[in-house]
Amino acid sequence: MIFDSVYDTYRGVVTYVRVVDGSLSPRERIVMMSTRAAHELLEIGVTSPEPVPTQGLGVGEVGYLITGVKDVRQSKVGDTVTNQAKPASDALGGYSDPKPMVFSGLYPIDGSDYPVLRDALDKLKLNDAALVYEPETSVALGFGFRVGYLGLLHLEIVRERLEREFNLDLISTAPNVIYDVTLEDRSVVTVTNPSEFPGGKIMEVREPVVRATILAPADYIGAIMELCQQRRGDLLGMDYLSADRVEMRYQLPLAEIVFDFFDQLKSKTRGYASLDYDVTGDQAADLVKVDILLQGEQVDAFSAIVHKDKAYAYGVMMTGKLKDLIPRQQFEVPIQAAVGARVIARETIRAIRKDVLAKCYGGDISRKRKLLEKQKEGKKRMKTIGRVDVPQEAFIAALTSQQTETKDKK
């Protein structure tokens, strides 16, 4: 069974295997059971820790094999290698594909970087089997990918690697989790992006839950409980590890911790708390989709799936923020947050009343013209939703800065 493979510039793909049954020897013809590709074993050996060629690998042994293949995809982690002459009848169970739990959109800040981002994700995927992604377009952000991660750490790492190793500037939208929505007709829709959330009659929405273990000094129990309660957590248990150190176990919806839970936890405990979590399953919850409407026009990028009790808070927060981010237009622009057809929050951007330069200084017309040219340039970079011009920065700020925003409020 293949458990890893790396690409060596001089030798091609080096595949690491553990022999489960039978044996492998050099110059044997082998077959990859999933792809049916046949290769000749050029070299086989063990790592100790440098690769040392051997005359074969027996049952239970761990080693490497080189077939001269250049394409990493030929040796998929979890695949079974077998002898071409007398193949094994069944492939080994392999590894189950990791299931992504957290999703977020990744968009290049510069639209022309899209192909670079695509290639970068392809390369990352080679040694990160857990990474899944599919192309996505957003009215606001253009072309990008919806990327699935195992969790928050994974999300951080992937984004960091893309930015560092591939020199990309990325916008990452607020992460969300995966929901199973059961409609009245009992069909189930899997939602990874709020814009896919079905309208109409919904019977049940299930969201993933985690079992979180928080270690912290006992002084902060109150603060932690308060935070977890806000985040719809259920206390499973609490143990004193020592006189002043406590372990708290909570069941929390994953959606509630993907965003800024950890930041909040750290700031409420002066950095002393640690968080560990495992996804344990899913639960039905009273979730709704909140849409944001600009002058009656729905903006997909701002939709979010939130708990019914928090829909109002989200609506107020988002409309308030957009009010500050969207420049005033020549007409009044209502910003509404709505659940279905019901408006739950509203802000109004008042119409701009003055947009004129009083005078040209001493006939410096070049200066005024350049200012207007700059304004026109700026307008080109805006997205027009209905008749409202929204600068790209507003989207970025509204989608990504919730973290800082909540911090500021404290």
């Binding site: 020549q330 007409f331 008042r350 701009i352 009343r353 003055k354 947009d355 004129v356 330069l357 009083a358 005078k359 040209c360 200084y361 001493g362 006939g363 410096d364 017309i365 070049s366 200066r367 005024k368 013209r369 350049k370 207007l372 040219e373 304004q375 026109k376 307008k379």
Partner: protein, 410 residues
């Protein structure tokens, strides 16, 4: 620090103009702007190119300034010799504070203009003046030298507003200086500034009423713009002064327009009102109409047939270049194509005579209907109810003129 000069090409040392500048010159009026870069004090909001020292070193001083300026006038005579001869139809002396120079110096500079290009019959010759730097005698001397018009920097009638602006004159002098100027046979304009930090709507109303009470025939009202680098900008940044909102400025513009209109003054440019056509500032109109003018003095801007250039800013560098027989121009640009169209729209649309629709591109003409519907352009003028079809700003349009320009040049 006064505002930076625009970026542009390097002009030739002899100041020669490209051949394109002469095209159609006989159809354009020709004016002269004379900059006097001296003040007794620098006001906190002012970012103009002006200096309070009387001696700036390197042959630049208030005493020798007229001499230096005359050299540039001579240079201008040589450069324009190749163009069709046009007498000067308007002269405007600005600053700075022109009246810190003795009337004799102003007269000598005006004589230089007269002997170099000749003054057209009935030419408008204006000087700016500080209300506290004139006397009945100095005004009579100016009139005798050939000045026909004086524009007083009244700014406000309210002491605390003048104090914030760091204007030193006594508002009680205004009626007197206006009377003296009229007795000397000069036309009078009063300049007002609105939107000063701490100015209430009533303060502003009082200022406009005080200006009207003198019976002037021309008023300019400019919104205060806090320019980067001024003392006021620093005060605003430190929180010592609160900037009025754009809404407040819009309200004050409307108050001014109401009061001035009621008193029989009509707007003829976004920030200028005059009783009759003859009372208008024709020099100012020439800027908006795209006529030619030569700007004399450090940092002065000139325009001849689509060529715009500007002089070095410091009086010392200015004097040094002229003494060496070189053009004081620091940079220039030849405005053509899209930029020229943007200038034509940006300048022309600000006038009460409107911008002929035939001067607009086809796509801009199609935007006119929308602007009329939005209440920014006058519907009757757009369909040609009186005279040719033109883009004429409504009052709302005047306050949003820059937005109109952007829409008409897309």
């Amino acid at each position: 620090m006064p505002p930076a000069l625009p970026d542009g090409d390097t002009p030739p040392d002899d100041g020669a103009l490209p051949a394109s500048a002469a095209v159609g010159a006989q159809d354009r009026a020709f004016g002269v702007y004379l900059h006097v870069p001296f003040c007794t004090v620098r006001c906190g909001y002012c970012d103009f190119n002006t200096y309070t020292a009387t001696e700036l070193g390197g042959g630049a001083s208030q005493a020798s300034y007229a001499e230096t300026a005359l050299r540039e006038i001579e240079l201008g005579g040589r450069v324009l010799a190749g163009l069709p001869g046009r007498p000067v139809s308007t002269v405007f002396v600005g600053g700075g504070t022109p009246t810190v120079l003795p009337p004799g110096d102003l007269a000598r500079m005006l004589d230089g203009v007269r002997s170099t290009w000749g003054l057209a019959p009935g030419a408008e010759v204006t000087t700016e003046a500080n209300p506290d730097s004139v006397t009945p005698e100095s005004l009579a001397a100016l009139a005798a030298a050939g000045f026909t018009r004086v524009s007083f920097g009244m700014q406000s009638a309210v002491p605390h507003v003048l104090a914030t602006l760091e204007r030193t004159h006594d508002p009680a002098r205004i009626p007197d200086v206006v009377r003296w100027a009229r007795e000397a046979g000069l036309k009078v304009s009063l300049d007002l500034i609105y939107g000063t930090p701490g100015e209430s709507l009533d303060d502003w109303r009082a200022s406009v009423e005080a200006a009207l009470a003198t019976g002037v025939d021309h008023v300019s009202a400019y919104a205060l713009v806090v320019e980067a680098g001024t003392k006021m900008a620093v005060q605003v940044r430190r929180g010592l002064l609160d900037l009025p909102s754009e809404d407040d400025q819009a309200a004050k513009y409307e108050v001014a327009d109401d009061l001035l209109t009621a008193a029989g003054l009509r707007w003829y440019e976004v920030s200028n009102w005059a009783r009759t056509d003859a009372d208008r500032c024709h020099h100012n109109l020439a800027y908006w109409r795209g006529d030619d003018w030569w700007g004399i003095g450090p940092g002065a801007h000139s325009h001849v047939g689509g060529v715009r250039w500007w002089n070095v800013k410091h009086p010392r560098a200015y004097a040094t270049r002229l003494e060496a027989g070189l053009s004081p121009a620091a940079g220039r640009e030849v405005v053509a194509g899209e930029s020229a169209q943007l200038e034509r729209v940006m300048l022309g649309v600000r006038l009460a005579e409107g911008l002929p629709l035939e001067d607009l591109s086809a796509s801009a003409r199609s935007a006119v209907a929308g602007l009329v519907a939005d209440g920014l352009l006058d519907g009757a003028a757009a369909v040609g109810a009186r005279g040719p079809r033109r883009a004429l700003l409504t009052r709302r349009g005047r306050l949003l003129a820059d937005a109109v320009v952007r829409a008409l040049t897309d």
